[in-house]
């Protein structure tokens, strides 16, 4: 009898633990339904600004993503996003602290408050907007299709990919692009953990084509000495234009503040100068 009671107690404890955890971790999902799409103003204001000014640092979640965020020989973070972030932090009067994160956990990092923003060629889309407050868009992005060079003759445009198997990072803009494409949406598809994993799939021929950020895809495929040199970016457009923005905690008061600073930096030519340095001047968009 006593044994039975202790088993029941154990089960109840476990259930309570799981319930508490899911209910807090799932907060983001809960918001999705209420604020889906249109109204982003419904979320309560999160007072991040005060904290960040008090701690005198802004913790920025990034990954290795040339030319947006990458390290120079001395380990200093450089790239378009990194330099822009430094300038913004200068104006805020705080130091920029770059934290390497695992990309598919970016929103968990934000909600866990282990980072203050995601600033790493972060494509703005509606689903993400349910969990994240975006800054104004500052740069154009598009999704690229990457295939194996062995298949260069077979796959020449979207129509020729009719029977191809696809891969992309789970929850990425690339995945959405595949699902939104009339020709490709019913193709065989596997979602992987990162954009690089998608490239590995194509390299090992376990998938025919990967869809990922053009910036990253083109860089990795074309870099000298690349292990991905056997891959190529297909000259075909899968989606309309997309934009990069900075991701803040849902409802963060930091977003407005940073938007203001971005406008100032646009006006005095700082943004343009950084973009030119990394060959991205053509991708800049006017900050609204």
């Amino acid at each position: 009898m006593k044994k039975k009671i202790s088993i029941v107690i154990c089960l109840v404890l476990a259930a309570v633990t799981v319930f508490t955890l899911t209910s807090c971790l799932g907060n983001g999902d809960g918001d999705t339904k209420t604020t889906d799409g249109s109204s982003t103003t419904a979320a309560p204001v999160v007072k991040d600004l005060e904290n960040i000014l008090a701690n005198k640092k802004l913790v920025i979640g990034i990954t290795d993503f040339e030319p947006m965020d990458y390290q120079d020989a001395n380990g200093k973070w450089i790239g378009f996003d990194a330099e822009l972030a430094e300038k913004v932090c200068e104006k805020l009067g705080v130091t920029a602290e770059f934290k390497l994160i695992i990309w598919d956990k970016n929103i968990i990092e934000l909600n866990g408050k282990t980072i203050d923003c995601i600033w790493n060629g972060f494509t703005i889309d509606e689903d993400r907007a349910a969990n994240v407050t975006f800054s104004k868009e500052y740069m154009i992005n598009r999704q690229a299709i990457v295939i194996h060079k062995d298949n260069a003759e077979k796959f020449t445009d979207i129509a020729s990919l009719n029977d191809a198997s696809f891969t992309a990072e789970k929850g990425s803009a690339g995945e959405k692009a595949i699902k939104a494409n009339a020709t490709l949406k019913d193709n065989k598809y596997v979602g992987v953990n990162g954009q690089i994993d998608a490239l590995k799939e194509v390299l090992s021929k376990t998938s025919d084509a990967a869809v990922l950020d053009y910036t990253m895809g083109a860089y990795l495929v074309n870099k000298e000495g690349s292990d991905f040199a056997k891959l190529m970016v297909l000259d075909a457009e899968i989606t309309a234009k997309e934009y990069y923005g900075i991701g803040f905690r849902k409802g963060s008061d930091l977003a407005d503040k940073v938007n203001g600073i971005l406008k100032e930096l646009e006006a005095d030519g700082t943004i343009k100068a950084i973009a030119e340095k990394y060959g991205l001047a053509d991708s800049l968009v006017k900050i609204k």
Binding site: L21, L25, E66, K99, I101, G112, T114, I196, V221
Partner: protein, 217 residues
Amino acid sequence: MSFFEITLILFQGFLVTLRLFALTLLFSLPLGLIISFGSMSKFKLFSIPTKTFVWIIRGTPLMLQIIVVFYVPGMLFNYPIFKDDRFLAALITFVINYAAYFSEIYRGGIESVPKGQYEAGQVLGLTKTQTFFKVVLMQVVKHILPPISNEVITLVKDTSLIRVIAIVELINAAERFIAKEALLWPLFYTGVFYLAFCGILTLFFNFVEKKLDYYKT
């Protein structure tokens, strides 16, 4: 980038792996003993919570535990304790996880010592503590060495799990070469590090087992 440079950078990641490995053992081996006393306790007040704790720790994936320890303080209590020290979150998780596993190994080892050994200690006028340290402990060590060495070697490879919270250990260091230099081979090259280290550990445990081979129970 030369082979040498890449080896050097991977080695820096490997140092993080080693640090986690060493500190985890340092804290979890003694902690495991305390937990095993808890789960062997005659008092239900101690034994039931301890057993439940061990069940939870052994019954959930280590990767999930790392994620929970690292993210939940900020999400749930608005207090991101590990914001500036991800390694600490990983270390705490590993110490707790491995202590739970070690506690069960200890328990098995302690319970495998025949009752007669305790009674012999008792009739010879030894205190319980003296009996444990002078009579039982060495026999336990001999019993538990094979399962402990197994667990220790598993630990070497489990350290790679901490990359889920973006700590640059060996595997993550190699993965960064893919993103930065578009090089895949460093990832496979990490296997050499793990193999070499586990090889050294295997030799070490063989040596210790041989040292304890002078008697049989």
